[in-house]
Amino acid sequence: MIYFDNAATTFPKPESVKAEVGRCIDQYCGNPGRGGHRMSAAAAKTVYDCRCELAELFSAKPESVVFTLNTTHALNIAIKGIARKGDHILISNMEHNSVLRPIIAEGYDYDVFDTLKPTEAMIREICSRITSRTRGIVCTHHSNICPVGLPIGAVGELCRQRGLFFIVDAAQTAGIYPIDMSKCNIDALCFAGHKSLYGIQGVGGIVFSQKYKGKAARMLHTLVQGGSGMASLEENMPLYLPERLEAGTLATPAIAGLLAGVKEVRQRGLADIRDHGTMLCRRMLERLCNDDRIEVYCPDMQSSEIVLFNIKGVSPDLVAEALDKEGICVRAGFHCAPLAHRALGTGDKGAVRVSFGAYNTPQEVDIFCDTLQKVKQGV
């Protein structure tokens, strides 16, 4: 089996992750923050260690790391926690539904800026869309369907100059690209634990800037209210992060696995993982771009872990199904990113996405390309 759907969730997971999840369940899976006994304390210690590891990765403070279920959950908490009714928000045309749908559901006024242009032109367009009611920018760091990355440093600087909040969706980049919260002026960085940080499904998170340290966290609206393991007699959620936004029991085994995953990623090095993905990407594009029957989207942007394509005249779901029969896992359709597909012009059926992970090999790319030739003749 060849697994090329790492943008959805990475597979396989490192041995250290599997071992730590098992060790947690077997040995210390008490409820963190819900008691003073040794099991609760051991679980809490691991959760805190994970906050520290993530804080180092993103140049933030451990107390500013809030655990969620996944990136969608994180983005909902961040957007609804920071934005207010009536706000005007700018988003990019590469956004996932986890950004678009909460914004529409909450009734925020929003505008979309184009990312398929040079950085300077993009920044000019963003400036032109800022109005007196604009309060912030929410954007992805990297598209989940194609090799388009956003210059979050430049966008963050603009937010700083204009006094706007800046929320970044790092679902596809946490663990691949270095992200410095303060250098990029990011207020809230949302990430997945089960993608490029190589944890298991069930945990994601938000890293908040120092703007929300201490009691300043009261500025954040709480999306979910409930048990926090502290201030139990008070009617409202605690004022401090992370507990203010972590109602209910955390996914301790998943957080334990994430801790091992982040260590693994940092040990191998983000640059090494990124270079590996780029190498696989270029290898695949060399073959696909020379085929007249295959349309590759954004073929010039080769510094990525994602290849998006269609076989001309063939529905992408048929291609994915045929590849699956050959033992190759890819994802077809719209990938929860309707704005991005519209921007790329993939039509009414979407496209086929190949996404690489740290454990894919050049040999797998070659097998894929050979198999695609066979599939092309069969469909």
């Binding site: 809490a44 210690k45 926090s228 502290m230």
Partner: protein, 70 residues
């Protein structure tokens, strides 16, 4: 709040801050450790125990690192 003859409790807003404070105080050479909370209003660890002799120094360190004390 005095827990014993030679140990004092410094309360933090949450367990996260308590673990953070204990780690910081250990790094700074003040032998703090998380302790089992006995106040039923709190119900979980959110205090660090330090020597009574070190309480003032410990509080000063926590404040200088912007760690809130309850």
């Amino acid at each position: 709040m005095v827990k014993s003859n030679d140990r004092c409790m410094i309360y933090l807003p949450s367990q996260t801050y308590a673990i953070s404070a204990a780690k910081l105080l250990r790094l700074k050479g003040i032998g703090a450790s998380e302790v089992k909370e006995t106040d039923s209003k709190r119900g979980c660890i959110n205090g660090v125990a330090v020597s009574c002799r070190d309480t003032a120094a410990a509080k000063q360190i926590l404040i200088s690192y912007s760690i809130p004390i309850s």
